[in-house]
Protein backbone atom coordinates (compact mmCIF):
# COMPACT_ATOMS: atom_id res chain seq x y z
CA UNK A 1 0.00 0.00 0.00
CA UNK A 2 2.76 2.35 0.91
CA UNK A 3 4.81 1.89 -2.20
CA UNK A 4 2.23 2.25 -4.95
CA UNK A 5 2.48 5.10 -7.37
CA UNK A 6 -0.66 7.18 -7.66
CA UNK A 7 -0.48 7.46 -11.42
CA UNK A 8 -3.04 6.89 -14.09
CA UNK A 9 -0.95 4.07 -15.59
CA UNK A 10 -0.78 2.23 -12.30
CA UNK A 11 -4.52 2.62 -11.95
CA UNK A 12 -5.19 1.05 -15.34
CA UNK A 13 -2.80 -1.76 -14.56
CA UNK A 14 -4.44 -2.47 -11.22
CA UNK A 15 -7.92 -2.41 -12.70
CA UNK A 16 -6.82 -5.00 -15.27
CA UNK A 17 -5.36 -7.13 -12.54
CA UNK A 18 -8.52 -6.90 -10.49
CA UNK A 19 -10.64 -8.10 -13.41
CA UNK A 20 -8.31 -11.08 -13.88
CA UNK A 21 -8.35 -11.85 -10.17
CA UNK A 22 -12.13 -11.77 -10.09
CA UNK A 23 -12.39 -14.09 -13.07
CA UNK A 24 -9.78 -16.43 -11.57
CA UNK A 25 -11.66 -16.44 -8.31
CA UNK A 26 -14.90 -17.39 -10.00
CA UNK A 27 -13.25 -20.15 -12.02
CA UNK A 28 -11.45 -21.59 -9.00
CA UNK A 29 -14.64 -21.52 -7.02
CA UNK A 30 -16.40 -23.46 -9.77
CA UNK A 31 -13.53 -25.90 -9.88
CA UNK A 32 -13.72 -26.39 -6.15
CA UNK A 33 -17.44 -27.03 -6.27
CA UNK A 34 -17.05 -29.47 -9.16
CA UNK A 35 -14.27 -31.32 -7.42
CA UNK A 36 -16.25 -31.45 -4.23
CA UNK A 37 -19.28 -32.95 -5.93
CA UNK A 38 -17.23 -35.69 -7.58
CA UNK A 39 -15.22 -36.23 -4.43
CA UNK A 40 -18.18 -36.78 -2.16
CA UNK A 41 -19.72 -39.46 -4.32
CA UNK A 42 -16.33 -41.12 -4.82
CA UNK A 43 -15.42 -41.13 -1.18
CA UNK A 44 -18.75 -42.71 -0.30
CA UNK A 45 -18.04 -45.52 -2.75
CA UNK A 46 -14.53 -45.73 -1.37
CA UNK A 47 -15.75 -46.31 2.16
CA UNK A 48 -18.24 -48.92 1.04
CA UNK A 49 -15.63 -50.80 -0.96
CA UNK A 50 -13.07 -50.59 1.81
CA UNK A 51 -15.39 -52.10 4.36
CA UNK A 52 -16.27 -54.88 1.94
CA UNK A 53 -12.63 -55.60 1.08
CA UNK A 54 -11.54 -55.55 4.70
CA UNK A 55 -14.27 -57.99 5.59
CA UNK A 56 -13.25 -60.29 2.74
CA UNK A 57 -9.57 -60.08 3.64
CA UNK A 58 -10.29 -60.95 7.23
CA UNK A 59 -12.24 -63.95 5.99
CA UNK A 60 -9.36 -65.01 3.79
CA UNK A 61 -6.93 -64.60 6.66
CA UNK A 62 -9.08 -66.85 8.81
CA UNK A 63 -9.11 -69.50 6.11
CA UNK A 64 -5.34 -69.36 5.91
CA UNK A 65 -5.25 -69.84 9.67
CA UNK A 66 -7.38 -72.91 9.27
CA UNK A 67 -5.11 -74.21 6.55
CA UNK A 68 -2.15 -73.70 8.82
CA UNK A 69 -3.77 -75.72 11.51
CA UNK A 70 -4.18 -78.59 9.10
CA UNK A 71 -0.67 -78.38 7.74
CA UNK A 72 2.68 -77.29 9.10
CA UNK A 73 3.80 -73.71 8.66
CA UNK A 74 6.61 -74.79 6.39
CA UNK A 75 4.39 -76.80 4.12
CA UNK A 76 1.97 -73.93 3.65
CA UNK A 77 4.70 -71.47 2.83
CA UNK A 78 6.46 -73.79 0.44
CA UNK A 79 3.23 -74.54 -1.35
CA UNK A 80 2.47 -70.84 -1.79
CA UNK A 81 5.94 -69.53 -2.50
CA UNK A 82 6.33 -71.71 -5.53
CA UNK A 83 3.35 -70.05 -7.09
CA UNK A 84 3.63 -69.47 -10.81
CA UNK A 85 0.90 -66.85 -10.66
CA UNK A 86 1.77 -63.36 -11.64
CA UNK A 87 -0.68 -60.63 -10.90
CA UNK A 88 -0.21 -57.88 -13.43
CA UNK A 89 -2.13 -54.71 -13.82
CA UNK A 90 -2.40 -52.23 -16.61
CA UNK A 91 -2.37 -48.61 -15.55
CA UNK A 92 -4.26 -45.93 -17.40
CA UNK A 93 -4.95 -42.37 -16.38
CA UNK A 94 -8.12 -40.41 -16.18
CA UNK A 95 -8.36 -36.67 -15.74
CA UNK A 96 -10.96 -35.22 -13.41
CA UNK A 97 -10.76 -31.43 -13.14
CA UNK A 98 -7.03 -31.40 -13.86
CA UNK A 99 -6.31 -34.17 -11.36
CA UNK A 100 -4.61 -37.17 -12.94
CA UNK A 101 -6.11 -40.29 -11.49
CA UNK A 102 -4.76 -43.79 -12.08
CA UNK A 103 -7.06 -46.57 -13.17
CA UNK A 104 -6.00 -50.20 -12.88
CA UNK A 105 -7.07 -53.10 -14.97
CA UNK A 106 -6.28 -56.53 -13.66
CA UNK A 107 -4.51 -58.78 -16.11
CA UNK A 108 -4.29 -61.88 -14.04
CA UNK A 109 -4.93 -65.12 -15.78
CA UNK A 110 -5.45 -67.57 -12.98
CA UNK A 111 -3.96 -70.85 -13.98
CA UNK A 112 -5.25 -72.86 -11.09
CA UNK A 113 -3.37 -74.01 -8.04
CA UNK A 114 0.33 -73.68 -7.88
CA UNK A 115 0.87 -76.77 -5.76
CA UNK A 116 0.11 -80.41 -5.95
CA UNK A 117 -2.92 -81.53 -4.01
CA UNK A 118 -1.17 -84.52 -2.50
CA UNK A 119 0.60 -82.73 0.33
CA UNK A 120 -1.74 -79.86 1.02
CA UNK A 121 -4.97 -79.63 2.91
CA UNK A 122 -8.27 -78.78 1.31
CA UNK A 123 -8.50 -75.75 3.59
CA UNK A 124 -5.61 -74.20 1.72
CA UNK A 125 -7.47 -74.44 -1.57
CA UNK A 126 -10.38 -72.63 -0.02
CA UNK A 127 -8.14 -69.97 1.41
CA UNK A 128 -6.43 -69.31 -1.91
CA UNK A 129 -9.78 -69.27 -3.64
CA UNK A 130 -11.21 -66.69 -1.25
CA UNK A 131 -8.19 -64.46 -1.65
CA UNK A 132 -8.37 -64.68 -5.41
CA UNK A 133 -11.99 -63.64 -5.14
CA UNK A 134 -11.03 -60.43 -3.34
CA UNK A 135 -8.37 -59.51 -5.88
CA UNK A 136 -10.49 -57.47 -8.33
CA UNK A 137 -12.09 -55.50 -5.51
CA UNK A 138 -8.74 -55.00 -3.86
CA UNK A 139 -7.29 -53.49 -7.02
CA UNK A 140 -10.35 -51.32 -7.51
CA UNK A 141 -10.04 -50.12 -3.95
CA UNK A 142 -6.45 -49.04 -4.54
CA UNK A 143 -7.37 -46.98 -7.56
CA UNK A 144 -10.40 -45.44 -5.89
CA UNK A 145 -8.58 -44.63 -2.72
CA UNK A 146 -5.72 -43.00 -4.58
CA UNK A 147 -8.26 -40.97 -6.54
CA UNK A 148 -9.87 -39.79 -3.31
CA UNK A 149 -6.50 -38.96 -1.81
CA UNK A 150 -5.45 -36.90 -4.83
CA UNK A 151 -8.79 -35.13 -5.04
CA UNK A 152 -8.80 -34.28 -1.35
CA UNK A 153 -5.37 -32.75 -1.84
CA UNK A 154 -6.48 -30.80 -4.87
CA UNK A 155 -9.61 -29.54 -3.14
CA UNK A 156 -7.58 -28.29 -0.23
CA UNK A 157 -5.19 -26.50 -2.58
CA UNK A 158 -8.01 -24.98 -4.59
CA UNK A 159 -9.85 -23.88 -1.49
CA UNK A 160 -6.75 -22.16 -0.23
CA UNK A 161 -6.36 -20.31 -3.51
CA UNK A 162 -10.00 -19.26 -3.52
CA UNK A 163 -9.66 -17.93 0.01
CA UNK A 164 -6.43 -16.11 -0.73
CA UNK A 165 -8.04 -14.39 -3.71
CA UNK A 166 -11.26 -13.64 -1.92
CA UNK A 167 -9.92 -12.39 1.37
CA UNK A 168 -6.47 -11.03 0.56
CA UNK A 169 -5.72 -10.28 -3.05
CA UNK A 170 -9.01 -8.79 -4.17
CA UNK A 171 -9.63 -6.54 -1.13
CA UNK A 172 -6.05 -5.31 -1.32
CA UNK A 173 -6.37 -4.42 -4.97
CA UNK A 174 -9.66 -2.69 -4.37
CA UNK A 175 -8.09 -0.65 -1.59
CA UNK A 176 -5.19 0.31 -3.83
CA UNK A 177 -7.49 1.33 -6.64
CA UNK A 178 -9.51 3.47 -4.28
CA UNK A 179 -6.35 5.04 -2.92
CA UNK A 180 -5.06 5.90 -6.38
CA UNK A 181 -8.30 7.29 -7.69
CA UNK A 182 -8.76 9.46 -4.62
CA UNK A 183 -5.22 10.71 -4.92
CA UNK A 184 -5.80 11.49 -8.59
CA UNK A 185 -9.03 13.34 -7.83
CA UNK A 186 -7.25 15.30 -5.15
CA UNK A 187 -4.50 16.28 -7.61
CA UNK A 188 -7.08 17.32 -10.13
CA UNK A 189 -8.91 19.50 -7.65
CA UNK A 190 -5.74 21.19 -6.52
CA UNK A 191 -4.67 21.98 -10.05
CA UNK A 192 -8.13 23.34 -10.76
CA UNK A 193 -7.86 25.66 -7.80
CA UNK A 194 -4.42 26.71 -8.88
CA UNK A 195 -5.71 27.57 -12.34
CA UNK A 196 -8.59 29.60 -10.90
CA UNK A 197 -6.19 31.52 -8.70
CA UNK A 198 -3.86 32.21 -11.62
CA UNK A 199 -6.80 33.34 -13.71
CA UNK A 200 -7.84 35.79 -10.97
CA UNK A 201 -4.34 37.15 -10.75
CA UNK A 202 -4.06 37.60 -14.49
CA UNK A 203 -7.45 39.36 -14.70
CA UNK A 204 -6.41 41.67 -11.87
CA UNK A 205 -3.23 42.48 -13.73
CA UNK A 206 -5.11 43.32 -16.93
CA UNK A 207 -8.04 45.32 -15.59
CA UNK A 208 -6.96 46.59 -12.16
CA UNK A 209 -10.36 45.80 -10.66
CA UNK A 210 -9.22 46.46 -7.12
CA UNK A 211 -7.86 49.99 -7.84
CA UNK A 212 -11.01 50.90 -9.70
CA UNK A 213 -13.14 49.69 -6.89
CA UNK A 214 -11.18 51.83 -4.44
CA UNK A 215 -11.56 54.91 -6.63
CA UNK A 216 -15.28 54.34 -6.84
CA UNK A 217 -15.47 54.10 -3.11
CA UNK A 218 -13.57 57.34 -2.57
CA UNK A 219 -15.53 59.27 -5.14
Amino acid sequence: MATINPTRMELTRLKGKLVTARRGHKLLKDKRDGLMRDFLSMVRKNMELRLKVEEALKGANQRFMLARSAMSNEEVRVALMASGEEARIETTYRNIMSVDIPDFETKTGRQGYSYGFAFTAGELDEAVESLAGVLPDLIRLSALEEACRLMAKEIEKTRRRVNALEHVMIPQMEANIKYISMKLDENERSSQIRLMKVKDMMLEEAHHYKEKAKERANA
Partner: protein
Protein backbone atom coordinates in the same frame (compact mmCIF):
# COMPACT_ATOMS: atom_id res chain seq x y z
CA UNK B 1 2.47 -54.17 -17.26
CA UNK B 2 2.90 -53.34 -13.63
CA UNK B 3 3.48 -55.55 -10.64
CA UNK B 4 1.93 -55.60 -7.21
CA UNK B 5 3.71 -55.98 -3.88
CA UNK B 6 2.60 -56.71 -0.33
CA UNK B 7 4.54 -55.57 2.71
CA UNK B 8 3.77 -56.67 6.24
CA UNK B 9 4.30 -59.35 8.83
CA UNK B 10 4.79 -62.74 7.26
CA UNK B 11 1.64 -64.32 8.69
CA UNK B 12 -0.55 -61.66 7.16
CA UNK B 13 0.96 -61.59 3.73
CA UNK B 14 2.27 -65.00 2.68
CA UNK B 15 -1.11 -65.94 1.27
CA UNK B 16 -0.86 -63.21 -1.32
CA UNK B 17 1.96 -65.05 -3.04
CA UNK B 18 -0.64 -67.55 -4.19
CA UNK B 19 -2.44 -64.95 -6.26
CA UNK B 20 0.75 -63.58 -7.75
CA UNK B 21 1.72 -60.64 -5.56
CA UNK B 22 5.36 -60.22 -4.58
CA UNK B 23 5.62 -60.51 -0.82
CA UNK B 24 8.06 -58.60 1.36
CA UNK B 25 7.93 -59.76 4.98
CA UNK B 26 9.01 -57.15 7.52
CA UNK B 27 9.17 -57.16 11.28
CA UNK B 28 9.39 -53.53 12.29
CA UNK B 29 8.38 -50.07 11.23
CA UNK B 30 11.90 -49.05 10.26
CA UNK B 31 12.20 -52.17 8.16
CA UNK B 32 8.90 -51.31 6.50
CA UNK B 33 10.12 -47.87 5.63
CA UNK B 34 13.39 -49.05 4.12
CA UNK B 35 11.71 -51.91 2.25
CA UNK B 36 9.04 -49.73 0.75
CA UNK B 37 11.58 -47.10 -0.25
CA UNK B 38 13.66 -49.78 -1.93
CA UNK B 39 10.81 -51.21 -3.99
CA UNK B 40 9.16 -47.84 -4.60
CA UNK B 41 10.06 -47.74 -8.29
CA UNK B 42 9.27 -51.32 -9.13
CA UNK B 43 5.57 -51.60 -8.36
CA UNK B 44 2.37 -49.90 -9.33
CA UNK B 45 0.55 -50.90 -6.17
CA UNK B 46 2.05 -51.68 -2.79
CA UNK B 47 -0.23 -53.05 -0.09
CA UNK B 48 0.94 -52.53 3.47
CA UNK B 49 -0.64 -54.06 6.54
CA UNK B 50 -2.23 -51.54 8.87
CA UNK B 51 0.16 -52.36 11.68
CA UNK B 52 3.05 -50.92 9.68
CA UNK B 53 1.25 -48.38 7.51
CA UNK B 54 1.68 -45.42 9.83
CA UNK B 55 5.37 -44.82 9.16
CA UNK B 56 4.72 -44.30 5.47
CA UNK B 57 2.31 -41.39 5.74
CA UNK B 58 5.04 -38.80 5.27
CA UNK B 59 6.40 -40.47 2.15
CA UNK B 60 2.92 -40.77 0.72
CA UNK B 61 2.22 -37.10 1.33
CA UNK B 62 5.41 -36.08 -0.40
CA UNK B 63 4.89 -38.34 -3.41
CA UNK B 64 4.07 -36.36 -6.52
CA UNK B 65 4.25 -39.07 -9.17
CA UNK B 66 0.98 -40.97 -9.49
CA UNK B 67 2.62 -44.35 -8.91
CA UNK B 68 3.07 -46.31 -6.77
CA UNK B 69 -0.26 -46.36 -5.04
CA UNK B 70 0.14 -47.44 -1.42
CA UNK B 71 -2.92 -48.93 0.21
CA UNK B 72 -3.38 -50.12 3.77
CA UNK B 73 -4.93 -53.57 4.28
CA UNK B 74 -5.86 -55.35 7.49
CA UNK B 75 -3.43 -58.01 8.64
CA UNK B 76 -3.80 -60.96 10.95
CA UNK B 77 -2.99 -58.84 13.98
CA UNK B 78 -2.18 -55.31 15.00
CA UNK B 79 -5.03 -53.78 13.08
CA UNK B 80 -5.39 -50.12 13.85
CA UNK B 81 -8.37 -49.30 11.71
CA UNK B 82 -5.97 -47.16 9.71
CA UNK B 83 -7.66 -47.95 6.40
CA UNK B 84 -11.01 -46.58 7.43
CA UNK B 85 -9.36 -43.74 9.30
CA UNK B 86 -7.47 -42.66 6.20
CA UNK B 87 -10.68 -42.46 4.19
CA UNK B 88 -12.14 -40.29 6.93
CA UNK B 89 -9.07 -38.12 6.79
CA UNK B 90 -9.64 -37.52 3.07
CA UNK B 91 -13.07 -36.14 3.83
CA UNK B 92 -11.69 -34.00 6.59
CA UNK B 93 -8.98 -32.62 4.38
CA UNK B 94 -11.36 -31.83 1.56
CA UNK B 95 -14.38 -30.55 3.42
CA UNK B 96 -12.87 -29.23 6.61
CA UNK B 97 -14.63 -31.65 8.87
CA UNK B 98 -15.85 -35.19 8.50
CA UNK B 99 -19.44 -34.71 7.47
CA UNK B 100 -19.98 -38.14 5.96
CA UNK B 101 -18.77 -40.78 8.36
CA UNK B 102 -18.86 -38.82 11.63
Amino acid sequence: MDKIAVVGDIDSIYGFASIGFDTYPVESETETLSTVRKIWQDYAVIYVTEAYFGVLSEDIDKKDAPLPVITPIPGVRGNTGEGVASVKRFVEQAVGSDILFG
